[in-house]
Chain length 223, copies 2
DNA sequence: ATAACCTCGTTACTATAGTAATATGATTAT
DNA sequence: ATAATCATATTACTATAGTAACGAGGTTAT
Protein backbone atom coordinates (compact mmCIF):
# COMPACT_ATOMS: atom_id res chain seq x y z
CA UNK A 1 0.00 0.00 0.00
CA UNK A 2 2.53 2.55 -1.02
CA UNK A 3 -0.03 4.79 -2.66
CA UNK A 4 -1.93 5.58 0.51
CA UNK A 5 1.37 6.16 2.19
CA UNK A 6 2.63 8.78 -0.21
CA UNK A 7 -0.76 10.41 -0.13
CA UNK A 8 -0.54 10.75 3.61
CA UNK A 9 3.01 12.01 3.39
CA UNK A 10 2.01 14.65 0.85
CA UNK A 11 -0.93 15.64 2.98
CA UNK A 12 1.30 16.21 5.96
CA UNK A 13 3.88 18.04 3.89
CA UNK A 14 1.22 20.44 2.64
CA UNK A 15 -0.21 21.00 6.10
CA UNK A 16 3.24 21.65 7.55
CA UNK A 17 4.17 24.06 4.81
CA UNK A 18 0.78 25.72 5.09
CA UNK A 19 1.22 26.16 8.81
CA UNK A 20 4.47 28.05 8.34
CA UNK A 21 3.22 30.23 5.56
CA UNK A 22 -0.27 30.85 6.92
CA UNK A 23 1.27 31.83 10.24
CA UNK A 24 3.08 34.54 8.32
CA UNK A 25 0.51 35.60 5.72
CA UNK A 26 -2.86 34.51 7.05
CA UNK A 27 -5.37 33.31 4.52
CA UNK A 28 -3.61 35.33 1.85
CA UNK A 29 -0.84 32.77 1.79
CA UNK A 30 -0.11 31.82 -1.79
CA UNK A 31 -0.90 28.29 -2.82
CA UNK A 32 2.12 27.91 -5.07
CA UNK A 33 4.44 28.93 -2.25
CA UNK A 34 2.84 26.39 0.06
CA UNK A 35 2.92 23.68 -2.56
CA UNK A 36 6.47 24.62 -3.50
CA UNK A 37 7.68 24.26 0.07
CA UNK A 38 5.97 20.89 0.21
CA UNK A 39 7.74 19.82 -2.97
CA UNK A 40 4.47 19.61 -4.88
CA UNK A 41 2.48 21.66 -7.35
CA UNK A 42 -0.69 23.58 -6.57
CA UNK A 43 -2.78 20.88 -8.19
CA UNK A 44 -1.88 18.59 -5.30
CA UNK A 45 -3.77 20.91 -2.98
CA UNK A 46 -6.90 20.40 -5.04
CA UNK A 47 -6.37 16.71 -5.20
CA UNK A 48 -5.86 16.38 -1.45
CA UNK A 49 -8.02 19.13 0.01
CA UNK A 50 -10.38 20.12 -2.74
CA UNK A 51 -9.69 23.82 -2.47
CA UNK A 52 -7.59 26.38 -0.72
CA UNK A 53 -10.37 26.75 1.82
CA UNK A 54 -10.26 23.00 2.33
CA UNK A 55 -6.59 23.19 3.16
CA UNK A 56 -7.10 26.07 5.56
CA UNK A 57 -10.02 24.29 7.18
CA UNK A 58 -7.97 21.15 7.72
CA UNK A 59 -5.20 23.32 9.15
CA UNK A 60 -7.59 25.02 11.51
CA UNK A 61 -9.03 21.72 12.67
CA UNK A 62 -5.50 20.48 13.31
CA UNK A 63 -4.71 23.42 15.51
CA UNK A 64 -7.84 23.56 17.59
CA UNK A 65 -6.27 21.07 19.98
CA UNK A 66 -3.31 23.20 21.05
CA UNK A 67 -5.73 26.12 21.26
CA UNK A 68 -7.82 24.35 23.86
CA UNK A 69 -4.69 23.13 25.67
CA UNK A 70 -3.86 26.76 26.22
CA UNK A 71 -7.35 27.52 27.48
CA UNK A 72 -7.16 24.69 29.96
CA UNK A 73 -3.88 26.00 31.25
CA UNK A 74 -5.43 29.45 31.62
CA UNK A 75 -8.35 28.15 33.69
CA UNK A 76 -6.93 26.02 36.50
CA UNK A 77 -8.98 23.38 38.26
CA UNK A 78 -9.88 24.29 41.79
CA UNK A 79 -11.45 27.65 40.98
CA UNK A 80 -15.15 27.98 41.55
CA UNK A 81 -17.33 28.72 38.56
CA UNK A 82 -17.25 32.48 38.74
CA UNK A 83 -13.49 32.57 39.16
CA UNK A 84 -13.03 30.10 36.33
CA UNK A 85 -15.19 32.13 34.01
CA UNK A 86 -13.31 35.28 34.90
CA UNK A 87 -10.00 33.60 34.24
CA UNK A 88 -11.35 32.49 30.89
CA UNK A 89 -12.48 36.01 30.13
CA UNK A 90 -9.12 37.52 30.99
CA UNK A 91 -7.32 34.94 28.92
CA UNK A 92 -9.46 35.82 25.92
CA UNK A 93 -8.92 39.53 26.35
CA UNK A 94 -5.19 39.15 26.66
CA UNK A 95 -5.09 37.27 23.42
CA UNK A 96 -6.38 40.40 21.72
CA UNK A 97 -3.15 42.14 22.67
CA UNK A 98 -1.06 39.55 20.90
CA UNK A 99 0.85 41.31 18.11
CA UNK A 100 -0.58 39.00 15.46
CA UNK A 101 -4.09 38.93 16.82
CA UNK A 102 -5.22 40.76 13.70
CA UNK A 103 -3.92 37.99 11.53
CA UNK A 104 -5.82 35.59 13.75
CA UNK A 105 -8.98 37.64 13.29
CA UNK A 106 -8.52 37.62 9.55
CA UNK A 107 -8.14 33.86 9.58
CA UNK A 108 -11.17 33.47 11.80
CA UNK A 109 -13.12 35.63 9.40
CA UNK A 110 -12.13 33.50 6.46
CA UNK A 111 -13.14 30.36 8.35
CA UNK A 112 -16.49 31.96 9.01
CA UNK A 113 -16.83 32.83 5.38
CA UNK A 114 -15.94 29.31 4.36
CA UNK A 115 -18.53 27.91 6.72
CA UNK A 116 -21.10 30.28 5.30
CA UNK A 117 -20.39 29.46 1.68
CA UNK A 118 -19.42 25.82 1.60
CA UNK A 119 -21.86 23.60 3.49
CA UNK A 120 -19.50 20.65 3.37
CA UNK A 121 -16.45 22.40 4.76
CA UNK A 122 -18.73 24.28 7.09
CA UNK A 123 -20.10 21.19 8.72
CA UNK A 124 -16.67 19.63 8.91
CA UNK A 125 -15.41 22.72 10.67
CA UNK A 126 -18.41 22.82 12.95
CA UNK A 127 -17.88 19.20 13.89
CA UNK A 128 -14.27 19.84 14.87
CA UNK A 129 -15.19 22.86 16.90
CA UNK A 130 -18.01 21.07 18.67
CA UNK A 131 -15.77 18.10 19.41
CA UNK A 132 -13.21 20.32 21.05
CA UNK A 133 -15.88 22.32 22.79
CA UNK A 134 -16.58 19.29 24.93
CA UNK A 135 -13.32 20.08 26.62
CA UNK A 136 -14.70 23.50 27.44
CA UNK A 137 -17.86 21.96 28.84
CA UNK A 138 -15.76 19.60 30.94
CA UNK A 139 -13.73 22.57 32.13
CA UNK A 140 -16.80 24.07 33.79
CA UNK A 141 -18.73 20.98 34.75
CA UNK A 142 -18.60 20.13 38.42
CA UNK A 143 -17.31 23.44 39.66
CA UNK A 144 -19.09 24.81 42.72
CA UNK A 145 -21.47 27.70 42.21
CA UNK A 146 -24.02 29.10 44.64
CA UNK A 147 -23.73 26.00 46.77
CA UNK A 148 -24.39 23.68 43.84
CA UNK A 149 -22.27 21.94 41.31
CA UNK A 150 -22.43 22.89 37.66
CA UNK A 151 -24.16 20.20 35.65
CA UNK A 152 -23.02 19.26 32.17
CA UNK A 153 -26.17 20.84 30.74
CA UNK A 154 -25.46 24.10 32.49
CA UNK A 155 -21.86 23.98 31.38
CA UNK A 156 -22.98 23.46 27.81
CA UNK A 157 -25.31 26.42 27.91
CA UNK A 158 -22.59 28.48 29.47
CA UNK A 159 -19.92 27.44 27.02
CA UNK A 160 -22.12 28.44 24.10
CA UNK A 161 -22.78 31.88 25.50
CA UNK A 162 -19.23 32.50 26.63
CA UNK A 163 -17.71 31.55 23.33
CA UNK A 164 -20.20 33.77 21.54
CA UNK A 165 -19.59 36.67 23.91
CA UNK A 166 -15.83 36.44 23.74
CA UNK A 167 -15.75 35.92 20.02
CA UNK A 168 -17.93 38.97 19.55
CA UNK A 169 -16.02 41.08 22.03
CA UNK A 170 -12.66 40.10 20.59
CA UNK A 171 -13.85 40.97 17.14
CA UNK A 172 -15.07 44.26 18.51
CA UNK A 173 -11.80 45.05 20.22
CA UNK A 174 -9.67 44.12 17.23
CA UNK A 175 -11.86 45.88 14.71
CA UNK A 176 -11.97 49.01 16.84
CA UNK A 177 -15.68 48.77 17.58
CA UNK A 178 -15.34 48.33 21.31
CA UNK A 179 -12.48 50.58 22.39
CA UNK A 180 -13.43 50.50 26.05
CA UNK A 181 -13.58 46.76 26.42
CA UNK A 182 -10.63 46.03 28.67
CA UNK A 183 -9.86 42.95 30.72
CA UNK A 184 -12.07 44.22 33.48
CA UNK A 185 -14.97 44.59 31.10
CA UNK A 186 -14.55 41.11 29.68
CA UNK A 187 -14.55 39.71 33.20
CA UNK A 188 -17.61 41.65 34.27
CA UNK A 189 -19.58 40.70 31.20
CA UNK A 190 -18.71 37.06 31.65
CA UNK A 191 -19.55 37.17 35.33
CA UNK A 192 -22.92 38.70 34.55
CA UNK A 193 -23.79 35.63 32.52
CA UNK A 194 -23.18 33.21 35.38
CA UNK A 195 -23.75 35.08 38.58
CA UNK A 196 -26.49 37.32 39.81
CA UNK A 197 -24.38 40.38 39.07
CA UNK A 198 -25.60 42.52 36.20
CA UNK A 199 -23.35 44.41 33.82
CA UNK A 200 -25.10 47.55 34.96
CA UNK A 201 -24.66 47.28 38.70
CA UNK A 202 -21.56 49.42 38.89
CA UNK A 203 -22.86 52.36 36.96
CA UNK A 204 -26.36 52.85 38.23
CA UNK A 205 -27.85 56.29 38.62
CA UNK A 206 -31.01 57.09 40.58
CA UNK A 207 -34.22 58.08 38.93
CA UNK A 208 -34.80 61.82 38.87
CA UNK A 209 -37.20 61.35 41.79
CA UNK A 210 -34.54 59.30 43.50
CA UNK A 211 -35.53 55.87 44.89
CA UNK A 212 -32.37 53.82 45.39
CA UNK A 213 -31.48 50.46 43.93
CA UNK A 214 -33.01 47.42 45.44
CA UNK A 215 -29.94 45.36 44.48
CA UNK A 216 -26.68 46.34 46.10
CA UNK A 217 -23.66 46.36 43.82
CA UNK A 218 -21.39 43.35 43.90
CA UNK A 219 -17.82 43.80 45.04
CA UNK A 220 -16.08 46.61 43.21
CA UNK A 221 -12.66 45.41 42.13
CA UNK A 222 -9.83 47.91 42.60
CA UNK A 223 -9.64 50.36 39.71
CA UNK B 1 -18.07 71.90 -11.40
CA UNK B 2 -19.11 69.15 -13.72
CA UNK B 3 -16.18 66.88 -12.74
CA UNK B 4 -17.21 66.45 -9.15
CA UNK B 5 -20.71 65.93 -10.35
CA UNK B 6 -19.96 63.05 -12.69
CA UNK B 7 -17.71 61.57 -10.06
CA UNK B 8 -20.58 61.56 -7.63
CA UNK B 9 -22.91 60.17 -10.24
CA UNK B 10 -20.50 57.35 -11.03
CA UNK B 11 -20.03 56.66 -7.37
CA UNK B 12 -23.74 56.27 -6.89
CA UNK B 13 -24.10 54.17 -10.00
CA UNK B 14 -21.46 51.76 -8.73
CA UNK B 15 -22.98 51.58 -5.27
CA UNK B 16 -26.44 50.94 -6.71
CA UNK B 17 -25.19 48.25 -9.05
CA UNK B 18 -23.11 46.76 -6.25
CA UNK B 19 -26.13 46.63 -3.98
CA UNK B 20 -28.10 44.58 -6.47
CA UNK B 21 -25.30 42.19 -7.27
CA UNK B 22 -23.91 41.87 -3.79
CA UNK B 23 -27.40 41.13 -2.51
CA UNK B 24 -27.37 38.19 -4.89
CA UNK B 25 -23.75 37.01 -4.72
CA UNK B 26 -22.34 38.35 -1.48
CA UNK B 27 -18.74 39.43 -1.52
CA UNK B 28 -18.09 37.09 -4.43
CA UNK B 29 -19.87 39.52 -6.70
CA UNK B 30 -17.75 40.12 -9.76
CA UNK B 31 -16.35 43.58 -10.25
CA UNK B 32 -16.81 43.60 -13.99
CA UNK B 33 -20.47 42.75 -13.62
CA UNK B 34 -20.94 45.56 -11.12
CA UNK B 35 -19.00 48.01 -13.25
CA UNK B 36 -20.83 46.83 -16.34
CA UNK B 37 -24.24 47.49 -14.81
CA UNK B 38 -23.02 50.91 -13.77
CA UNK B 39 -21.94 51.63 -17.33
CA UNK B 40 -18.29 51.79 -16.29
CA UNK B 41 -15.20 49.61 -16.36
CA UNK B 42 -13.62 47.89 -13.39
CA UNK B 43 -10.92 50.52 -13.25
CA UNK B 44 -13.51 53.03 -12.12
CA UNK B 45 -13.97 51.02 -8.97
CA UNK B 46 -10.30 51.44 -8.16
CA UNK B 47 -10.41 55.10 -9.00
CA UNK B 48 -13.46 55.73 -6.83
CA UNK B 49 -13.13 53.22 -4.00
CA UNK B 50 -9.51 52.09 -4.10
CA UNK B 51 -10.34 48.41 -4.07
CA UNK B 52 -13.15 45.93 -4.15
CA UNK B 53 -13.08 45.90 -0.36
CA UNK B 54 -13.36 49.65 -0.44
CA UNK B 55 -16.53 49.41 -2.51
CA UNK B 56 -18.01 46.78 -0.22
CA UNK B 57 -17.10 48.80 2.84
CA UNK B 58 -18.78 51.88 1.43
CA UNK B 59 -21.80 49.76 0.62
CA UNK B 60 -21.94 48.37 4.13
CA UNK B 61 -21.64 51.82 5.66
CA UNK B 62 -24.49 52.97 3.43
CA UNK B 63 -26.74 50.21 4.64
CA UNK B 64 -26.09 50.36 8.36
CA UNK B 65 -28.80 52.99 8.62
CA UNK B 66 -31.70 50.85 7.40
CA UNK B 67 -30.31 48.05 9.57
CA UNK B 68 -30.69 50.16 12.69
CA UNK B 69 -34.08 51.41 11.55
CA UNK B 70 -35.20 47.82 11.65
CA UNK B 71 -33.75 47.30 15.11
CA UNK B 72 -35.54 50.34 16.41
CA UNK B 73 -38.78 49.01 15.03
CA UNK B 74 -38.14 45.67 16.73
CA UNK B 75 -37.57 47.28 20.12
CA UNK B 76 -40.50 49.59 20.81
CA UNK B 77 -40.25 52.43 23.28
CA UNK B 78 -42.22 51.86 26.44
CA UNK B 79 -40.69 48.53 27.31
CA UNK B 80 -38.56 48.41 30.40
CA UNK B 81 -34.94 47.48 30.00
CA UNK B 82 -35.27 43.74 30.41
CA UNK B 83 -38.16 43.54 27.99
CA UNK B 84 -36.33 45.73 25.49
CA UNK B 85 -33.24 43.60 25.66
CA UNK B 86 -35.30 40.47 25.18
CA UNK B 87 -37.04 41.95 22.18
CA UNK B 88 -33.65 42.81 20.75
CA UNK B 89 -32.45 39.27 21.37
CA UNK B 90 -35.44 37.72 19.68
CA UNK B 91 -35.09 40.03 16.71
CA UNK B 92 -31.49 38.99 16.28
CA UNK B 93 -32.29 35.32 16.53
CA UNK B 94 -35.08 35.56 14.00
CA UNK B 95 -32.74 37.14 11.55
CA UNK B 96 -30.74 33.93 11.61
CA UNK B 97 -33.72 32.15 10.08
CA UNK B 98 -33.78 34.49 7.12
CA UNK B 99 -33.15 32.43 3.99
CA UNK B 100 -30.16 34.53 3.02
CA UNK B 101 -28.72 34.87 6.46
CA UNK B 102 -25.77 32.81 5.31
CA UNK B 103 -24.98 35.35 2.65
CA UNK B 104 -25.17 37.98 5.33
CA UNK B 105 -22.75 36.03 7.46
CA UNK B 106 -20.36 35.70 4.58
CA UNK B 107 -20.51 39.43 3.99
CA UNK B 108 -20.01 40.12 7.66
CA UNK B 109 -17.00 37.83 7.62
CA UNK B 110 -15.50 39.65 4.70
CA UNK B 111 -16.03 42.99 6.44
CA UNK B 112 -14.25 41.59 9.47
CA UNK B 113 -11.44 40.41 7.29
CA UNK B 114 -11.19 43.78 5.63
CA UNK B 115 -11.06 45.48 9.00
CA UNK B 116 -8.33 43.11 10.09
CA UNK B 117 -6.19 43.58 7.03
CA UNK B 118 -6.66 47.14 5.94
CA UNK B 119 -6.24 49.61 8.81
CA UNK B 120 -7.66 52.44 6.75
CA UNK B 121 -10.85 50.72 5.65
CA UNK B 122 -11.05 49.14 9.09
CA UNK B 123 -11.13 52.43 10.90
CA UNK B 124 -13.57 53.86 8.41
CA UNK B 125 -15.85 50.90 8.99
CA UNK B 126 -15.43 51.10 12.74
CA UNK B 127 -16.33 54.76 12.67
CA UNK B 128 -19.56 54.08 10.77
CA UNK B 129 -20.51 51.29 13.12
CA UNK B 130 -19.78 53.34 16.21
CA UNK B 131 -21.73 56.26 14.83
CA UNK B 132 -24.76 54.11 14.30
CA UNK B 133 -24.27 52.38 17.60
CA UNK B 134 -25.20 55.60 19.29
CA UNK B 135 -28.71 54.86 18.17
CA UNK B 136 -28.49 51.58 20.03
CA UNK B 137 -27.27 53.35 23.14
CA UNK B 138 -30.13 55.80 22.83
CA UNK B 139 -32.50 52.88 22.45
CA UNK B 140 -31.66 51.64 25.95
CA UNK B 141 -30.91 54.89 27.73
CA UNK B 142 -33.62 56.06 30.07
CA UNK B 143 -35.55 52.82 30.27
CA UNK B 144 -36.58 51.80 33.77
CA UNK B 145 -34.70 48.98 35.40
CA UNK B 146 -34.77 47.90 39.03
CA UNK B 147 -36.38 51.15 39.98
CA UNK B 148 -33.72 53.23 38.27
CA UNK B 149 -33.25 54.65 34.83
CA UNK B 150 -30.55 53.39 32.56
CA UNK B 151 -27.78 55.94 32.20
CA UNK B 152 -26.02 56.54 28.90
CA UNK B 153 -22.88 54.95 30.36
CA UNK B 154 -24.77 51.84 31.33
CA UNK B 155 -26.44 51.72 27.94
CA UNK B 156 -23.05 51.98 26.27
CA UNK B 157 -21.64 49.11 28.30
CA UNK B 158 -24.71 47.10 27.59
CA UNK B 159 -24.74 47.81 23.87
CA UNK B 160 -21.16 46.65 23.56
CA UNK B 161 -21.85 43.37 25.30
CA UNK B 162 -25.14 42.73 23.54
CA UNK B 163 -23.75 43.31 20.11
CA UNK B 164 -20.83 41.04 20.88
CA UNK B 165 -23.07 38.35 22.32
CA UNK B 166 -25.55 38.42 19.46
CA UNK B 167 -22.88 38.59 16.82
CA UNK B 168 -21.16 35.60 18.35
CA UNK B 169 -24.35 33.65 18.85
CA UNK B 170 -25.59 34.36 15.33
CA UNK B 171 -22.30 33.24 13.91
CA UNK B 172 -22.58 30.12 16.04
CA UNK B 173 -26.10 29.38 14.90
CA UNK B 174 -25.37 29.95 11.23
CA UNK B 175 -22.11 28.06 11.25
CA UNK B 176 -23.68 25.13 13.08
CA UNK B 177 -21.66 25.59 16.24
CA UNK B 178 -24.57 26.32 18.50
CA UNK B 179 -27.41 24.08 17.37
CA UNK B 180 -29.40 24.51 20.58
CA UNK B 181 -29.40 28.29 20.59
CA UNK B 182 -33.05 29.11 19.92
CA UNK B 183 -34.93 32.34 20.50
CA UNK B 184 -35.46 31.39 24.11
CA UNK B 185 -31.75 30.92 24.60
CA UNK B 186 -30.90 34.25 23.02
CA UNK B 187 -33.36 35.95 25.29
CA UNK B 188 -32.12 34.24 28.43
CA UNK B 189 -28.49 34.97 27.66
CA UNK B 190 -29.29 38.60 27.02
CA UNK B 191 -31.38 38.86 30.15
CA UNK B 192 -28.55 37.39 32.19
CA UNK B 193 -26.36 40.31 31.17
CA UNK B 194 -28.76 42.93 32.46
CA UNK B 195 -30.74 41.39 35.23
CA UNK B 196 -29.84 39.37 38.28
CA UNK B 197 -30.88 36.17 36.52
CA UNK B 198 -28.04 33.83 35.60
CA UNK B 199 -27.94 31.69 32.50
CA UNK B 200 -27.69 28.71 34.81
CA UNK B 201 -30.70 29.29 37.00
CA UNK B 202 -33.08 27.08 35.09
CA UNK B 203 -30.90 24.03 34.96
CA UNK B 204 -29.44 23.79 38.42
CA UNK B 205 -28.87 20.44 40.10
CA UNK B 206 -28.24 19.98 43.80
CA UNK B 207 -24.88 18.96 45.15
CA UNK B 208 -24.65 15.26 45.91
CA UNK B 209 -25.18 16.17 49.57
CA UNK B 210 -28.12 18.25 48.55
CA UNK B 211 -28.33 21.88 49.78
CA UNK B 212 -30.72 23.78 47.53
CA UNK B 213 -30.08 26.92 45.58
CA UNK B 214 -30.05 30.16 47.48
CA UNK B 215 -31.40 32.01 44.44
CA UNK B 216 -34.85 31.09 43.23
CA UNK B 217 -35.23 30.76 39.47
CA UNK B 218 -36.71 33.70 37.64
CA UNK B 219 -40.00 33.23 35.85
CA UNK B 220 -39.96 30.23 33.56
CA UNK B 221 -41.56 31.16 30.27
CA UNK B 222 -43.94 28.58 28.78
CA UNK B 223 -42.09 25.83 26.90
C1' DA C 1 3.13 -12.11 -15.11
C1' DT C 2 0.69 -9.19 -17.65
C1' DA C 3 -2.99 -6.29 -18.84
C1' DA C 4 -6.62 -3.41 -17.43
C1' DC C 5 -7.62 -0.01 -14.24
C1' DC C 6 -7.61 3.35 -10.89
C1' DT C 7 -5.57 7.14 -8.10
C1' DC C 8 -3.24 11.06 -7.76
C1' DG C 9 -0.26 14.68 -9.14
C1' DT C 10 1.19 17.71 -13.09
C1' DT C 11 0.51 20.77 -16.85
C1' DA C 12 -1.86 23.90 -19.44
C1' DC C 13 -5.72 26.75 -19.34
C1' DT C 14 -9.56 30.02 -17.54
C1' DA C 15 -11.43 33.51 -14.53
C1' DT C 16 -11.03 37.46 -11.77
C1' DA C 17 -8.77 40.89 -8.65
C1' DG C 18 -5.56 44.32 -8.86
C1' DT C 19 -1.73 47.56 -11.21
C1' DA C 20 0.38 50.72 -14.43
C1' DA C 21 0.34 53.38 -18.30
C1' DT C 22 -2.56 56.09 -21.13
C1' DA C 23 -6.08 58.97 -22.96
C1' DT C 24 -9.77 62.19 -22.37
C1' DG C 25 -11.95 65.85 -20.89
C1' DA C 26 -12.56 69.31 -17.15
C1' DT C 27 -10.20 73.11 -14.64
C1' DT C 28 -7.01 76.81 -14.19
C1' DA C 29 -3.53 80.19 -15.40
C1' DT C 30 -1.78 83.34 -18.65
C1' DA D 1 -8.95 82.14 -25.73
C1' DT D 2 -5.57 79.07 -25.50
C1' DA D 3 -2.26 76.38 -23.28
C1' DA D 4 -0.88 73.86 -19.20
C1' DT D 5 -2.39 70.94 -15.73
C1' DC D 6 -4.99 67.86 -13.14
C1' DA D 7 -8.51 64.35 -12.30
C1' DT D 8 -10.59 60.30 -13.67
C1' DA D 9 -11.85 56.45 -16.46
C1' DT D 10 -10.06 53.00 -19.82
C1' DT D 11 -6.98 49.63 -21.61
C1' DA D 12 -3.65 46.33 -21.40
C1' DC D 13 -1.15 43.69 -18.30
C1' DT D 14 0.11 40.75 -14.02
C1' DA D 15 -0.83 37.63 -10.26
C1' DT D 16 -3.23 33.97 -8.30
C1' DA D 17 -7.18 30.78 -7.47
C1' DG D 18 -9.41 27.24 -9.58
C1' DT D 19 -10.46 23.59 -13.61
C1' DA D 20 -9.80 20.00 -16.95
C1' DA D 21 -7.23 16.98 -19.55
C1' DC D 22 -3.44 14.11 -19.20
C1' DG D 23 0.04 10.87 -17.70
C1' DA D 24 2.79 8.07 -14.50
C1' DG D 25 2.88 4.64 -11.57
C1' DG D 26 0.79 1.79 -8.08
C1' DT D 27 -3.13 -1.81 -7.75
C1' DT D 28 -5.93 -5.59 -9.04
C1' DA D 29 -7.86 -9.30 -11.80
C1' DT D 30 -7.05 -13.00 -14.78
Amino acid sequence: MKREETRERNRRALLDAALRIVARDGHQARLDEIAGQAGLSTGAVYSLFGSKDGLLTALAADYLGPQYDEIERAVPAGLDLVAAVEAFARYYRRKCDDPDALRGLSLQASMLDTAARDPDLGSRLAASVRAHEERLVALFTGRPHNGNMVTPQQAQRLATALRALFAGLSQGVLAGLAPGADEQYFAEAARALVSGASLLDQHAAPLPSGRRLTRRPTRRPPA
